[in-house]
Amino acid sequence: MTTMATPTQPKAGGTAPVQAPEYNPKSESVGAKRAKSVIFHIVALALTAVVLYPALWMVASSFKPNAEIGGTNTSLWSSNFSFDNFTTAMEGIGGVSTLQFFTNSLVLAIGAVVGTILSASVSAYAFARIKFPGRSALFGMMIATLLLPFHVVIIPQYIIFQQLGLVDTYIPLLIGKFLAADAFFVFLMVQFMRNLPAELDEAARIDGAGHVRIFTSIMLPLMKPALISTSIFSFIWSWNDFLGPLLYLNTPEKYPLPLALRLFVDQTQSSDYGAMIAMSVLALLPVLIFFLVFQRYIVEGVSTQGLKG
């Protein structure tokens, strides 16, 4: 972390810094160092194995016949290895293809990302940079919505959308994202923006830039880490959301993946655990890819948030 080191550099012309006795890792013997490293790696590997086992179990079970999943079968791999579960999973449910469920999930997730990025960044700019009457009161109210449990608003919200005739459309699921209703993301961006040096927009203002110009040309490029963290979280949350789609969507053709997954396991009839697990594996892939592509930004995003500008 080279950036972390910059503030500690001695200023030119100041008093000479006092040399404090420093901890020197090189003073340790090579043997002790190696032993430490080995122990560290063993512990890390053991923890990784524990954490990853459920995922491994899931992947392994997706290749097993249904009768061999759970129950008395404790072995990880089955001798009856097959892709049948994936075939069943891809056939879809009740005449709706699995590809359709994937597309629906993707539409919802991308809609959520776009909506949140647009609305939360603009709202955050207003809260962080524009002085308007009632700003702190509004900010406080926004934080208060963070503390309001989702379950309290389910029924009033449902009644509103039902009266507007918007049930069984994606509008109830996406409109909140485009109206910055996700207070968490607005808050995250406000905090990020407050740490950006105000001198930058003051300089822009002197050069004649308005709010729109300052926001698009100065703030947005600087906020890249916050924008990426927001995209990742809102993508994953939307991808995994079950209750929202359950309440607002009626037509199976519009269902996203989490709803479809539950249809394989029916308490009142036979349950196809194999197909459900196979579909879970498939459903995990987009999130995994999304995360792998953007993970270096996530680390950057979180670490730079801790920096004072």
């Binding site: 008395t72 009740g94 039902q162």
Partner: protein
């Protein structure tokens, strides 16, 4: 950019249109459709891919016979189904026709969410008279059963043969049943057990009460049995708990979500006869058989037909007539019986049952229900509100009993306290 004035206009317009839409939602006179201009009713059910395929087939058949009605079919899984219905009921938007479960009937019926089906034209002449009360509350018919289940003892004949234990013939006392379980446990060598603790199953207890001429719940929704009855019941398996006659609760938990019977760990299980297909799929067994539950009174088996699911309509439906015709079709039409076979349970209506050919597994279940016909008594009324919680606590407390965490006396005390609190709360 939206100016402030524009914004206000937009909001005002939005509010006005919301009000206009709300006006549309108020009760309108019953509407009927024609072939040229059909009405559309919404029908919703829970279930898996198999049920979705069958239901869609039935809907297509209904639409071809009734060109003036279109049916818009939707489905979710069982758990999500009730979350969704609760929200819709609060928001006033229940679908026109719904597949329903007995345990939710009283709750929604008492809150006037369901249509009194006695006020519309549905043919129930083909129904066993002992069955219809299970869809009625205080003289109003809120639900009509599509199909029935009966309680039974499942066993695996192949496993019994390999252990050298004889198959039960279905007329047995509790003592005979218990010694049969003991024999299986003794020969099972610690890998195969008799059954799960049958005293932990609410419906098995309920049937035992009926065998002793006790009703589980009184008409005003109180408990109809005493603490001593419950203690007698739980004491019945005291000598079996901890022996291989009953699989331990610990083992059963390890096997979840599969049942010990479905995992081939026990040879018998007491439950509803519609579990047959699920057990066959889970265990991979070629054949499973069912026999009546044990009873100390050979003339009173305490058995009854329970609706495996019912058809209900929303109290607020605008299409009462179309909804009634759809329900009538789904419960009575022989061709619908051919489509569903026993996947909803054994068809409740005689017209539908007689018009359906049953083979293999289906035949076993239908024959079983026919064989117990002479023992059947009136089905109990719809369970009290909060019954699901009572049933779950019955299961939980008796599994603590099986673990040895509770004595029979303290378990009975604990359950009675929970039950009485719950009944007081919902009164």
């Amino acid at each position: 950019m939206i100016s402030r004035r524009n914004f206000l206009t937009t909001v005002a317009l939005g509010t006005a249109s919301a009000a206009a839409l709300a006006a549309c939602g108020s009760p309108a006179p019953a509407q009927t459709g024609s072939a040229a201009n059909p009405v559309t009713i919404n029908y919703t059910w829970w279930g898996n891919d198999d049920r979705a395929t069958r239901t869609r087939k039935a809907i297509a058949l209904f639409e071809s016979k009734n060109p003036d009605i279109k049916v818009n079919g939707n489905f979710t899984d069982f758990a999500g189904y009730w979350q969704k219905r609760a929200t819709e009921a609060a928001g006033g938007g229940l679908p026109d026709v719904m597949q329903w479960d007995l345990s939710y009937l009283r709750d929604y019926g008492q809150r006037n969410q369901l249509l009194d089906l006695g006020t519309v034209k549905i043919d129930t002449s083909g129904f066993d008279k002992s069955l219809l009360p299970s869809g009625q509350i205080k003289g109003k018919t809120y639900g009509i059963p599509t199909s029935t289940n009966a309680f039974a003892v499942y066993y695996d004949p192949a496993k019994l043969k390999s252990l050298g234990v004889s198959e039960p013939d279905g007329s047995w006392t509790y003592d005979e049943y218990k010694s049969w379980l003991k024999e299986v446990g003794a020969k099972g060598n610690g890998t195969i057990f008799g059954s799960t603790d049958f005293t932990g199953i609410w419906w098995q207890f309920n049937i035992w009460l009926r065998q002793n001429n006790i009703e589980a719940f009184t008409e005003d929704g109180k408990l109809g049995f005493s603490k001593d009855d419950l203690k007698t019941w739980w004491n019945m398996a005291s000598d079996l708990r901890g022996t291989p006659a009953l699989v331990s609760e610990e083992r059963a938990t390890q096997l979840a979500p599969k049942s010990p019977f479905g995992s081939n760990v026990t040879v018998a299980e007491n439950t509803w006869d519609n579990f047959m297909a699920g057990y066959l799929a889970d265990s991979g067994a070629k054949e499973l058989k069912i026999v009546p539950v044990p009873s100390d009174d050979p003339d009173n088996l305490g058995l009854f037909l329970k609706p495996s699911m019912l058809m209900v309509a929303s109290a607020k439906t605008k299409f009462k007539d179309a909804s009634a015709r759809f329900i009538d079709f789904m419960i009575n039409d022989p061709e619908v019986g051919q489509i569903f076979k026993t996947s909803r349970g054994v068809p409740a209506s005689k017209t539908q049952r007689d018009g359906t050919t049953f083979e293999g597994t289906d035949k076993i279940v239908v024959d079983y229900e026919k064989s117990i016909e002479k023992y059947l008594k009136d089905a109990p009324e719809p369970p009290i509100v909060g019954f699901g919680t009572l049933e779950a606590s019955f299961k939980r407390i008796s599994s603590d009993l099986n673990f040895g965490k509770l004595t029979v006396d303290s378990a009975a005390d604990a359950w009675f306290k929970e039950a009485e609190d719950l009944i007081k709360q919902n009164a």
